[in-house]
Subunit: 345 residues, 4 copies
Amino acid sequence: MKAAVIGATGYGGIELIRLLSNHPDFSLHSVYSSSKDQVPATEDYPHLKDICPLPLMKIDPEEITSECDAVFLAVPSGASSALSPKLLKNNTKVIDLSGDLRLKNPEHYEKWYKKTPADLHTLNQAVYGLTEWNREAVKSANLLSNPGCYPTAALLGLAPAIQGEVIDESGIIIDAKSGVSGAGRGLSLAVHFAEMNDNFKIYKVNQHQHIPEIEQQLLLWDHKVSPVTFSTHLLPITRGIMTTMYAQLKKTMTATELHQLYEEAYADDFFVRVRPLGEFPGVKEVAGSNFCDIGITVDERTNRVTIVSVIDNLMKGAAGQAIQNANLMFGFEETAGLKGFPIYP
Amino acid sequence: MKAAVIGATGYGGIELIRLLSNHPDFSLHSVYSSSKDQVPATEDYPHLKDICPLPLMKIDPEEITSECDAVFLAVPSGASSALSPKLLKNNTKVIDLSGDLRLKNPEHYEKWYKKTPADLHTLNQAVYGLTEWNREAVKSANLLSNPGCYPTAALLGLAPAIQGEVIDESGIIIDAKSGVSGAGRGLSLAVHFAEMNDNFKIYKVNQHQHIPEIEQQLLLWDHKVSPVTFSTHLLPITRGIMTTMYAQLKKTMTATELHQLYEEAYADDFFVRVRPLGEFPGVKEVAGSNFCDIGITVDERTNRVTIVSVIDNLMKGAAGQAIQNANLMFGFEETAGLKGFPIYP
Amino acid sequence: MKAAVIGATGYGGIELIRLLSNHPDFSLHSVYSSSKDQVPATEDYPHLKDICPLPLMKIDPEEITSECDAVFLAVPSGASSALSPKLLKNNTKVIDLSGDLRLKNPEHYEKWYKKTPADLHTLNQAVYGLTEWNREAVKSANLLSNPGCYPTAALLGLAPAIQGEVIDESGIIIDAKSGVSGAGRGLSLAVHFAEMNDNFKIYKVNQHQHIPEIEQQLLLWDHKVSPVTFSTHLLPITRGIMTTMYAQLKKTMTATELHQLYEEAYADDFFVRVRPLGEFPGVKEVAGSNFCDIGITVDERTNRVTIVSVIDNLMKGAAGQAIQNANLMFGFEETAGLKGFPIYP
Amino acid sequence: MKAAVIGATGYGGIELIRLLSNHPDFSLHSVYSSSKDQVPATEDYPHLKDICPLPLMKIDPEEITSECDAVFLAVPSGASSALSPKLLKNNTKVIDLSGDLRLKNPEHYEKWYKKTPADLHTLNQAVYGLTEWNREAVKSANLLSNPGCYPTAALLGLAPAIQGEVIDESGIIIDAKSGVSGAGRGLSLAVHFAEMNDNFKIYKVNQHQHIPEIEQQLLLWDHKVSPVTFSTHLLPITRGIMTTMYAQLKKTMTATELHQLYEEAYADDFFVRVRPLGEFPGVKEVAGSNFCDIGITVDERTNRVTIVSVIDNLMKGAAGQAIQNANLMFGFEETAGLKGFPIYP
């Protein structure tokens, strides 16, 4: 199957190129950028020398859909809403990595993204690709909305507890920390090396656009969930997200029981690894891979649970999960092209 | 006044040497280590060449108290409990940076530190040196117990909200992140460079010995406070702590009102800087200084407050606050020797 | 073909496990450690959960050679010399990543490694695996001595210039910088995070054991080469080596001519990429891959060349090149299992 | 004495503010920026809260010279040449941190900086402030040209060997590595965090504008010096420069003899510390201080010397040396305001 990547100069795009170049079932057919035309990809990314001979091309939906079976949209939020419908032609399937198609309620999009939402038809068509919890719908999707990096980590960590109705639906706290690649390749003082090195910052307090995405999914699982507190911090590392989550137990439960609940929930999911009780993952332990590792415990002093989940934000948080979803959409093995181990150290 | 540093080869000790060497009222008289005798300090720390000509000496309490007015104890927990009483002679005043004298209840110490507690007489004599909130007692102390790094950041951040009775006493969450110097100079795989670089880890979940220290002080301020959730993470940076704290408001309160409460609480405290509303501090913004910077907000969606405090763990979290306390104990200016700016970038 | 890794708990060993687990022609059969027996590999490396179910076993040469076709020796220098001969049985082929079999002259080994050298028979049998320049010998080797990380970078960078007799054989300067994983997993203050972070150090000045390895190979290419100056520095990064090399031109030559010489020399080598004239590689641009990237220029003011080569020290500098050599020894594609792109960013 | 800082929003400017705020003899009177007018300095640098109440002002030479005794110019190269003459009024003394007044030959400036040079009168008036080697001229200077960061490290390291005529004047190699703050606060992809973290790069090969500055001074010391090779690399750290330098001995000399030469050369210089023979400095060992630490050795195999010097590029490489020079110009203690220790770790 022929695959195209639109938005190939961003970090999500370049990670898709890496994965598609070694994929057993997809071949990387062409790469596109809104700002380039016939420019070698190596001009932006010298590390691609000899391994990605494709030039960056101007985005031409007609041409793309006539030539490609799968299109990965790694463009900024605000651009996908218009592009997606034009790409759903000639049986082409679209995997959108932006935030444009994630919120089913266009008012939520407008409020949190401060941009014009996609039309309702497109929104309704889009399947939310939190793979482990929406596998059947993903398999039949033509338009896939790939989850945000933070929501992926947070939701995979919270799902068994919420679905198992073991935690209080009010008062969920998500303290999230992300590597700097999550902020993209656009220049800004906040991620200027001398400002970010040996530093640690909190940002967008109570205002991050991933809040409604997390709540939307939690409410689908349990309509009693009340608004969550979600904080985002920048780590002086390149890749990786950790979410540390806190919630009150609804009933008495031992750590062992909670752990068993998690192990059972993810028993059949290759990419979610529940760590042995007492062990918590570090972000480096999933770097370069599509894994989401989870550690959990119960504090008997407070009757509160602590749930820790880690992902590589460019993999399970973006390009990796996009490939995982595309694999299902095209009937390939779910793990095809994603069996690379974490790079450690 | 002549000052001695015991435990001079650790990071807390070396920071005391840096500060005392440029102090207007203290002179650094001698430095001690449990494992050295007549060894130049430059052997452990080549950066001291030409600026600290003192040799490391064997610890001899008799000699120390006969020669020095102030003794800074920067030894590991477990060693201070025995040393402190021996140093309280000849009018010598002792500032203990270890955890040995912080918990007034010896059972708490035994439970969390898993070591033999200090005797009750010594514990009762020790004044807890969270300077901004215990200034008068500090002034008349002969034995000062310097707060832990995490408790300093957490308590300075929580104090106005707890004392103002604006937050719910149950359900306080403290998500703390620390630079690696907090783990000391002792070798361990966890802080081996190749393991910690580009990494981020959670550790001692629900088991950190700073939990009872935080709770002890919160209970002194408000006896209704229930056990807190306190998590500690390791940042791939050298210096700096951020605590991100969450609590439910007891009554409706705007961010502006909360901010005003904080500004008033710390109006006269040079080393606590409440940031303008909407601004949150990064850890680098206090690096190398004795400041604790605080940012706060209220989330109207959840009626929850977010409080962020940052310190340099070796300064306000250890050596800096120790000097600040010693200044008061000896009647010097509270800021003497501590006016160095943050090193930025 | 069944492969074993001996010394599986070091960084070289763990990288071999990563590569062999995804190799099309080798299967990872068993892993060994001198200090473990029947211990799950995940105990040392939690990131291996679900992907490397093998236990670490005690080293038993009899058993290993009866079960495995290929043995990768990733043990410290000093251990290979004794182990290698015992593993050359039952048609088992051995790839040794240590320094024990690199120096043909046992006196050189004794002088620089300060250990007992391997016996002459074993030394003579060992083929030096700088793949690109010794391919035919590698193909027929049963005992392969994998080059050191620094020599790989330095020699690939110098080879065309030395062989083309364009640079002065005296006065070659090699200024090398390495990521900290090159120092291994053994604890030491030098690579304690708080000491190495935001730091940069020079070490083993004029005393590094890779000096005779570099000179031995240069002399094979040109017997007129005089002793080189080789300096090693530690970078505050995990992976990556850069060697910046300086030499006087023997004759007038433009940068364009020199560049052409390099392009021709490596035209058929997949893993050596000569960068376009005017472009120099950064170490991150080969991270996680088996590439060696080279940039070169000529300074007309000084008539000197500057040659820059970068590798991932755990890949082309250790495990990657070991697999590359094993591929040739067993008649597989040279690039089998090594087509992973650099992880960027 | 009243001091002004022009160009206060750059890293050199902010470091001058840090130093002048704690200086015993200078008081920081006003701060200026080409792009701001009446804007609080905390807007650009929140860490200045409560400690630098000054607003950034528009640059008005008339006003500045009428109010201030000392003006520190921390503007980019190209701006000083025009500003300096206007500031030399009313007995105001000017310390220029830019590159504009360093090269006595305007053609050199034009060639390497690709900008219009300062007029000859101004160039002739400017005293080059490599303090340790030009102390008398500095004392009587009204216009001081502060050396570049790289030249400071390189020249302090080479001076005793060149002046002692112990090294060959041809074939001097300077391999320099700098922290990223040296690249300033201007945004660029090269120092975008995700690109620079865990990376190491070479840049401006043979084209760095500090080459003629180094050569100009070497030639003043020894007119036989031929063009040097000078390479610059970017380290993934904030502060610090190391230059590793190589040269051929002209005569036989032991390391001990060379070391003695260096110790004698710098015996009276507080800020240059020659390390004990066999010891080499790391960049962190001078961080935050005005020290230049030097390690040297002789390789008997090659008859070559290796000289290593480290500085904090914002201190001895910029603001620190500027204050050191200003102290001399105004008759203060050379070390006034500069006695802060290295911040370690």
